[in-house]
């Protein structure tokens, strides 16, 4: 499907419009809206301030939509041991089986000093199949050439509620063709643009949450996750038990897969050293994680590859791989390989991450 995205877009349009649209019931909506507004006003008057409004926001299922971005907050700057390009690695007499690697990472993470700031900063380099949408003509069943687009993104996730977050996407774009033949096919199509023309700076006036399963965790909540393996496991179990089977297909994953999936996000997020250590210990108990030994990420850095592979042609089939710096316990990269495809269809290498004091600031090396 990755090679047929225009076809997918057209199919979705057909699906969405296969029945004639009914007219908008404007008067009815205004009438219901007035009634709802009256109920809300009464509830607010009874409860005073705060709590009822908060409950209404939750009922809407919305993340907070913040006010106009406030001024730059003062803040502390600290680096949470962000991995750097060319990080050195101790040659190992150390065992590289998954459990040993994860337990060693847990020990290392526990020794990291706690850090804080107003923004969690991440710089990542991501490679994914280049997307080509013909402007006219019939939809293509397959991409006429194979190419990869690699770009860099900076993210500043605000810790404080209501503070703006920022992403800068599409930096340093690079297109790589799978072969000279693929590049020739691209040229024959008129060398269509595959990369963004310039970086895009995006300010978000709402919380950018991390996910554990389908549970949303803004940074403030992430920082309160337990710091021992047993309590973290209990927390994950409660979250797991609260997951609705209907939100998963073909069904809820096993608990171990649930933890692994969450770890992909959390290890690149602002969790405390204690939580990071506990998470590694919890992962160490999951039998389905295997070690690939020393591997290299897309930036040429060496770490230990940890993988979970789901076989067959099922909906979750493929290999999800994390590359961890066994010297610093930092996550270097995340990769996904679809079944039967030797090359990753998604590669994200984390160049830097850590707390900073304000938007636009980067961690000190």
């Amino acid at each position: 499907m990755n090679d047929d995205q225009e076809h997918l877009a057209r199919a979705l349009r057909t699906l969405a419009h296969r029945e004639p649209a009914s007219p908008a019931p404007v008067s009815e909506l205004v009438r219901r809206g007035r009634r709802a507004r009256r109920r809300r006003t009464v509830a607010g008057a009874v409860a005073g301030t705060g709590l009822v409004s908060a409950a209404l926001v939750v009922a809407l299922g919305l993340a907070g939509i913040g006010p106009t971005p406030p001024g730059t907050p003062p803040g502390t700057t600290a680096v949470a041991g962000a991995p750097s390009s060319g990080a050195s690695h101790r040659p190992g007499s150390r065992s590289l089986d998954a459990r040993s690697v994860l337990l060693a990472a847990a020990e290392t993470a526990a020794r990291e000093p706690a850090a804080s700031g107003h923004y969690w900063y991440v710089r990542e380099r991501t490679s994914a199949p280049a997307r080509y949408q013909p402007k006219r003509g019939r939809p293509m069943r397959e991409m006429p050439f194979r190419a990869t687009l690699t770009t860099t993104q900076d993210t500043w996730d605000a810790r404080d509620e209501g503070a703006p977050s920022r992403t800068v996407t599409g930096q340093d774009p690079k297109v790589t063709f799978a072969s000279a033949d693929d590049e020739a096919k691209w040229r024959r199509l008129g060398s269509p643009t595959l990369a963004p023309g310039k970086p895009s700076v995006n300010d978000h006036d709402m919380d950018l949450s991390f996910l554990i399963g389908n549970h949303r965790f803004p940074i403030r909540k992430l920082l309160t996750l337990p710091t021992t393996k047993d309590t973290l496991e209990s927390r994950f179990r409660r979250l797991y038990d609260a997951e609705s089977p209907s939100d998963w297909s073909p069904g809820k994953p096993a608990f171990g897969e649930y933890v692994w999936s969450a770890a992909q996000d959390l290890l690149a997020g602002p969790i405390t050293p204690g939580t990071r250590s506990a998470l590694y210990r919890l992962l160490a108990e999951q039998p389905h994680i295997r070690s690939l030994g020393k591997v290299t990420d897309s930036l040429g850095r060496t770490g230990v590859g940890l993988a979970v592979k789901r076989g067959g042609t099922g909906e979750s089939a493929g290999e999800f791989r994390l590359i961890v710096d066994d010297g610093t316990a930092e996550l270097l990269a995340y990769e996904f390989r679809a079944p039967g495809e030797p090359e990753p269809s998604l590669r994200t290498s984390y160049e830097a991450m850590g707390w900073v004091g304000k938007l636009g600031e980067r961690p000190r090396d």
Binding site: A24, L29, L211, D265, G318
Partner: protein
């Protein structure tokens, strides 16, 4: 909001937004009637918050309500209506659109957030950052959810095709 000017602005917005967001709601819920119910719920809530939402981008605001509301709305409905599962088969009025139906079934087999990522990326043609804003998650999460969604979608479509043989 009883200000006639604001009511008129809201009404104009609903007129302009209805078709576009109805399509998204249908794709998110997999069903025309549920989609319309979800959209109406969200538009009523938008009325309540109209003054504030209008300051920014009401389309983006409504999109966020649809996407995030779909999960909580669906859970609430499930409690209220135990039989309110996604239909296994298309509405008979849908007639001969077998390929559409395959896609609909495949789409409905995705977890709701992954489905939302697919709909917003490929129907709305939003950027990853806009999808992240709609879902209230990081762009990195959108990337991984999208990758998983497309893998699942491809597998589901393949299974549908094999079953049809």
């Amino acid at each position: 909001m009883s200000d006639p000017t604001e009511d008129a602005a809201y009404a104009a917005f609903v007129e302009a937004a209805w078709d576009r967001h109805m399509a998204v709601a249908i794709l998110l819920t997999g069903d025309r009637h549920r989609g319309e119910e979800l959209l109406q719920d969200c538009l009523v809530r938008l009325y309540v918050r109209w003054r504030r939402a209008a300051l920014t981008d009401p389309h983006a605001y409504l999109r966020r309500m649809l996407v995030n509301g779909n999960v909580s709305w669906w859970r609430r409905r499930q409690r209220e209506l135990p039989t309110a599962e996604p239909p296994d088969h298309a509405d008979p009025r849908s007639g001969p659109y077998e390929q559409d139906e395959e896609l609909r079934r495949a789409l409905m087999s995705l977890p709701r957030r992954q489905r939302a990522v697919v709909v917003l990326r490929h129907y709305e043609d939003l950027t990853e950052k806009a999808v992240a804003a709609a879902l209230g998650c990081s762009v990195g999460t959108v990337k991984s959810q999208h990758s998983r969604a497309m893998t699942r979608l491809r597998a589901a479509l393949r299974q549908n095709q094999e079953a049809a043989r």
